[in-house]
């Protein structure tokens, strides 16, 4: 809940249409969704069901064809590209399936990237980076480059980068999709801890029912509509 009692995320009658030549593809067809602050929501569904598209719209990476998206009281569906950029920097932390770390930067420099968009001083940034890396258990790897880290460690750096600005919302797109089971479990442990112990609001897209089971709520998407409500943990 936000301060005035409204849900942190409110999605109303959301539509997204892609056009491929003359073909019209209705990826999302009137999605309604409310998410309270502190929830850990999993979005599941078959490939092409629209879950990543929904995640992108919630994160301001794309704009809807119709409908409204409100996050933390901000209507983001009508923002210009430049405003969306600034909004993302303030409110969203992204965790990508393939980690998307910059190979030429060390772990700490990767984590510091979002902080460069804030007014923090260099020493403040350093402190925030150290805290984030400690939270993901990688304090000892701060000077390592991505190529010197395992897949699980790379994803931890990705999570540290996503949480370093203390965003309103953490959006994870198949965060364990490219990891072995053990590393995947460790990442899920970490996300669960961020939600349970630090109150992070998380939306995670996953194909994996075991991963979804770690969340507090699961929604299934099918052919662009929310099909069923899953478990509430």
């Amino acid at each position: 809940m936000t301060e005035n009692g409204a849900a942190l995320v409110q999605v109303r009658n959301l539509h997204k249409v892609f056009k491929r030549g003359a073909e019209r593809i209705d990826v999302l067809q009137g999605v309604d969704l409310d998410l309270q602050s502190g929830e850990f929501l999993s979005l599941m569904g078959p490939s092409g069901s629209g879950k990543t598209t929904l995640l992108n719209l919630l994160g301001g990476l794309d704009t809807p064809s119709d409908g409204t998206v409100t996050v933390g009281g901000d209507r983001i569906d009508k923002l210009s590209a430049a405003r969306l950029s600034r909004w993302r920097a303030r409110h969203i932390g992204f965790v990508f399936q393939l980690y998307n770390l910059l190979p030429v930067l060390t772990a700490e420099r990767n984590v510091e990237l979002p902080l460069l968009l804030t007014p923090l001083s260099r020493s403040q940034r350093k402190k925030h980076v150290a805290t984030a890396l400690a939270m993901v258990g990688l304090s000892g790897r701060s000077k390592h480059y991505p190529r010197q880290l395992s897949g699980g460690q790379e994803q931890r750096v990705g999570i540290a980068r996503a949480i370093v600005t203390d965003p309103t919302l953490l959006l994870c797109d198949e965060p364990t999709g490219d990891l072995d089971r053990k590393s995947g479990d460790e990442i899920l442990d970490l996300l669960q801890a961020l939600n349970a112990e630090h109150g992070k609001t998380i939306i995670m897209v996953t194909h994996d029912a075991r991963a979804a089971a770690r969340s507090t709520r699961t929604l299934h998407l099918d052919k662009g509509t929310l099909a069923t409500e899953g478990h509430d943990r």
Binding site: T53, L61, F94, F96, L102, P114, R161
Partner: protein
């Protein structure tokens, strides 16, 4: 603004640090721009060298007097009486040997070039002894001055280096006379060094010129007295002459050739530059394609499109400037000081000169490279900024 600068510097840093991963295409772009800058600087150094030989010749306190209506010595004729009146006019500086003036004439000889063996037009100038007072920069550096009244000649350093059989002691048969080289002179690399000098009194009968000359060069009391001197001569009813400052005369005599060399050089450089820009475009499209996901990630995190545009432009510009600096260095090493000669069709004679790569030319080359880089990077930069983030994030 500070935050924008900070994020832009970061994106530029990321971009430049990933250049080693794209070394091949980057080197291709650098080599292309290097080639253009070498050509650009080399061709324009010809114009600079020609300019140095012609426009820098002469002195502002020296006047050249020709027949009225003549625009070059070749078209001029002055009677002996006229040359004496000119030399005795107030305003001509006087030395121990009298007025510092020299009545001169010249003929054009066919002398083979050392490099190709083909004939070139080389001026043989008949001078009076006052010529050395008028042109104090002229110095005999080998041998001696010709003996007046004999068929001895002294040869300019550039002419001696470029044309056949003009070394010290060489004997040449030109027209009906035999001429012996008794000295080599230097004149600060100016046009005089492209000439052969002899006694005017010997040259007149040798080429059946009677007692006529073509010009008088006179050293004035000072550069400021030129206008008064000119007025005196042009209002003298005994004379029909035109008077020019020597520096202006040489500048006007070289203007067309200089313009043509500069024009041709610029056109060649422009055409090559267009090719190099395509090379840079290709390199930067490749760079953007290679970094698609990286750029999309930065933009997803909130970095602005303009930071991305600037990072691509800076990378392209830096590669181009590296090419420009290497090109300028190569052009300097390969061409600076290279001696050659070209026909000045305004005087119908060869002008010997050295390619001159000046600091200004190197700066121009670097600026040209920078422009090529910026133009080459522009479209890839715009493409990088406009890439849909969600599509680009899926790129591997």
């Amino acid at each position: 603004m500070f935050r924008w600068l900070s994020q832009t510097v970061t994106v530029i840093g990321v971009s430049l640090r990933s250049v080693p991963q794209r070394l091949g295409p980057s080197v291709v772009a650098i080599v292309g721009i290097t080639g253009v800058v070498v050509t650009f600087v080399a061709v324009l150094s010809i114009a600079e060298g020609f300019n140095a030989a012609m426009a820098n010749a002469g002195s502002p306190d020296t006047a050249i007097i020709m027949r009225g209506g003549s625009n070059a010595e070749l078209n001029s004729a002055l009677a002996l009486d006229s040359t004496r009146i000119i030399a005795d006019t107030a305003g001509v500086r006087r030395g121990e040997n009298g007025p510092m003036a020299s009545a001169e004439l010249f003929v054009i000889l066919n002398v083979p070039k050392q490099s190709t063996g083909t004939d070139a037009n080389v001026p043989l100038r008949g001078i009076q002894m006052g010529a050395f007072d008028v042109r104090p920069e002229v110095e005999i550096v080998e041998g001696r001055l010709f003996t007046p009244g004999t068929n001895e000649i002294v040869v300019g350093r550039s002419a001696s280096n470029l044309f056949s059989n003009l070394e010290l002691g060489a004997v040449n048969r030109w027209g009906e006379n035999t001429w012996t080289v008794v000295g080599i002179f230097e004149a600060g690399g100016t046009i005089s060094e492209s000439e052969i000098w002899c006694d005017a009194a010997v040259l007149q009968p040798a080429y059946r010129r009677g007692s006529t000359f073509q010009s008088v060069v006179a050293r004035l009391d000072s550069a400021e007295t030129f206008q008064a001197f000119k007025d005196r001569l042009t209002t003298d009813p005994r004379l029909d002459v035109q008077v020019e400052r020597e520096t202006d005369y040489y500048r006007s005599q070289s203007s067309q050739v200089r313009a043509i060399i500069t024009g041709i050089g610029s056109v060649i450089a422009l055409l090559m530059g267009i090719g190099a820009v395509f090379g840079a475009v290709n390199t930067m499209y490749n760079a953007v394609a290679t970094r698609t996901r990286e750029i999309a990630t930065l933009r997803a995190l909130g970095f602005s499109g303009s930071s991305v545009v600037i990072s691509v432009l800076v990378e392209s510009a830096l590669l181009a400037v590296v090419g420009g600096v290497i090109g300028g260095g190569l052009a300097y090493a390969a061409f600076h000081g290279y001696q050659t000669a070209t026909m000045n069709f305004q005087t119908f004679s060869q002008v010997a000169f050295a390619f001159t790569v000046t600091p200004a030319l190197l700066v121009q080359g670097a600026i040209y490279a920078l422009l090529m880089g910026l133009v080459g990077g522009l479209f890839p930069a715009i493409r990088a900024a406009r890439m849909p983030i969600v599509t680009a994030l899926r790129e591997l």
